[in-house]
């Protein structure tokens, strides 16, 4: 449905995105994840043809954005970060205008406007001026606009930003429903959202791909596992012992007041593929420190994300690696 090949975008000396390549399959919900300024909005703007890439090619449904922009634009619906609305028009007038630009006429136009208003939940404000609507309603009017004409590809830039928790839940439910008829690519800086909505995720950091895959595969590939253990014993010595175990990458003591409790909780970060539970048990037993609790954690997408994003920083901070 969507192919991005070696795409870079520079604004003067600033590199917004560099060497992006990914594909989005038909019917997929694809998430772009990254901290603010990672290049998510730029990537989506390149896909929609709002601005041209400096290098690389983007194809939507087989049409090149650079050479067949109209064919691409007819096939996509786009909700920018700030919904593009005319405050002096009513919701119905605005959607009518948007629908006519998308080539809908007369009966078909009226029916389509009614359909998207129903779908996005703005039918009750159809006659109100957009300028008088709340943020949540504006966001949904913007979404209704994107849905006009049932485009094959929906591009949603931060679709839940600025909404209250109830509206966020509604918007997510709506996006999930939409995936039945559309391919969706959305951006977000909220991890649980992407985790919950998307089949595949691309993590962007400083304009580059930090990782991509399913939420589960990302967690498995990058993080490996985490072990949470509670041990009764002198804190510093226990921590040193745990850190010395083969296969342990890092030890972090859980927040608590050392000295007050005789038992403390530690988080062990393990190297991928390592299982240290038996060694850990015997090592503690040999020293006579009782193991009170042991639990395995799978890294959540959030932890994977933080890990990737913080790992990348020193590499980029120390000059230009490429």
């Amino acid at each position: 449905m969507l192919t991005v090949e070696g795409v870079s975008k520079r604004f003067g000396p600033t590199v917004a995105v560099q060497d992006l390549s990914f594909t989005v399959e038909q019917g997929e919900i694809f998430g772009l994840l990254g901290p603010n300024g990672a290049g998510k909005t730029t990537t989506l703007r390149l896909i929609t043809g709002y601005m041209p890439p400096t290098t690389g090619r983007i194809k939507v449904a087989g049409f090149d954005v650079a050479t067949a922009p109209l064919a691409v634009k007819q096939r996509l619906g786009y909700l920018p970060e700030n919904p593009p609305l005319y405050p002096e028009l009513t919701v119905r007038e605005y959607l009518g205008f948007a629908a006519s630009l998308k080539g809908l006429r007369r009966q078909g136009l009226v029916r389509e406007v009614a359909r998207v208003m129903e779908e996005a939940g703005v039918a009750d404000v159809a006659g109100r001026l957009i300028g008088n609507l709340s943020r949540g309603y504006r966001q949904r009017v913007g979404l209704a606009q994107a849905l006009l004409g049932s485009p094959e590809l929906l591009v949603l830039d931060e679709p839940t930003v600025g909404l209250d928790p109830v509206q966020i839940a509604e918007m997510r439910r709506l996006i999930k429903e939409l995936a039945a008829q559309h391919t969706v690519i959305l951006s977000s800086h909220i991890l649980p959202e992407v985790n919950q909505l998307c089949q595949r995720v691309l993590i962007l950091n400083q304009g580059r791909i930090a990782a991509q895959g399913t939420p589960a595969s990302l967690a498995a590939a990058t993080g490996g596992r985490q072990l949470e253990v509670t041990v009764k014993g002198p804190v510093a010595e226990v921590a040193a012992l745990l850190a010395a175990l083969p296969g342990v990458r890092a030890v972090r003591q859980a927040d608590g007041r050392p000295g007050q409790e005789p038992a403390a909780t530690y988080f062990l970060e393990l190297l991928p593929g390592e299982d240290v539970r038996e060694e850990l048990f015997f090592a503690l037993a040999a020293r006579g420190w009782p193991l009170l609790e042991m639990r395995r954690h799978q890294l959540s997408l959030e932890e994977v994300f933080l890990q990737l994003v913080t790992e990348e920083e020193p590499a980029n901070g120390g000059g230009n690696p490429n």
């Binding site: 043809g49 041209p52 786009y78 920018p80 005319y86 028009l89 007038e93 006519s100 630009l101 998308k102």
Partner: protein, 236 residues
């Protein structure tokens, strides 16, 4: 082609829903009415030459105010992102917008037909000069609107667009002074470039194809420049 029509309708509606167009029209008609009356009372001539000549100057102030929002506002509101990702071309969008501003100008110009009516009832005007004046004023207005649209397409700030439009129009006005100052080849070119020279022939009732060609290419050039400007910024 149809995309242009829908943009035109939307733009015209936005003009009519906001106070801006009404204020510009009111100022245009108030100052115009004052000039018409003063000139008529002073000269007692059934002639609109002096009126149009002065209004050419007033137009220079009013047109940039009318046109400054045309594209800059879309950038400001983020609706540019919508228009440029909709299945329409930049040309269709810009011409639609241009025609909407032209429609507002035509409303104002239509109101001034009252002066012709007054002159017809109270004297024997030279109709050639009167209609020549109307045609010239129409073309001058359309040319100024194209410059205003171009200025608006350059920036995301309405204030900057307005000032820039005004500056450009002023430049086209005063470049004619070079003709007197320098004379010769440069002076001839300056005389041709400035809008005033072409405009003033119309006021005498002379409708020369050279002038029609001048205004036609002037409008075309600035519309093209505006389109190129957006394409350079946004590709496609």
């Amino acid at each position: 082609m149809r995309g242009m029509w829908f943009v035109f309708c939307r733009e015209l509606r936005s003009y009519l829903y906001s106070p801006l167009a009404y204020v510009v029209l009111a100022v245009f008609l108030a100052i115009g009415g004052y000039l018409f009356s003063v000139v008529l009372l002073a000269t007692r001539l059934a002639d609109l030459g002096a009126y149009f000549s002065n209004m050419g100057l007033i137009l220079m102030f009013l047109v940039p105010i009318l046109t400054m929002r045309l594209w800059a506002e879309e950038e400001q509101r983020g609706t540019a992102e919508f228009l440029l990702t909709a299945p329409v071309t930049v040309g269709q969008v810009l011409v639609g917008k241009y025609l909407a501003a032209a429609a507002i100008f035509l409303i104002g110009l239509g109101c001034t037909l009252l002066y012709a009516l007054i002159l017809a009832r109270s004297g024997q005007p030279d109709w050639g000069a009167i209609w020549g004046g109307y045609l010239g004023f129409l073309l001058l207005g359309l040319a100024y609107l194209a410059v205003g649209l171009f200025a608006s397409a350059l920036t995301g700030s309405q204030m900057v667009a307005g000032l820039l439009g005004f500056g450009l129009l002023l430049g086209f006005w005063i470049i004619g002074w070079l003709a007197q100052a320098l004379g010769g080849r440069v002076g001839e070119v300056a005389q041709f470039v400035t809008a005033v020279g072409h405009y003033e022939d119309f006021l005498k009732g002379v409708v020369d194809t050279q002038h029609l060609l001048y205004f036609g290419s002037f409008i075309g050039a600035f519309l093209l420049l505006a389109a190129e400007c957006l394409k350079a910024r946004h590709g496609s």
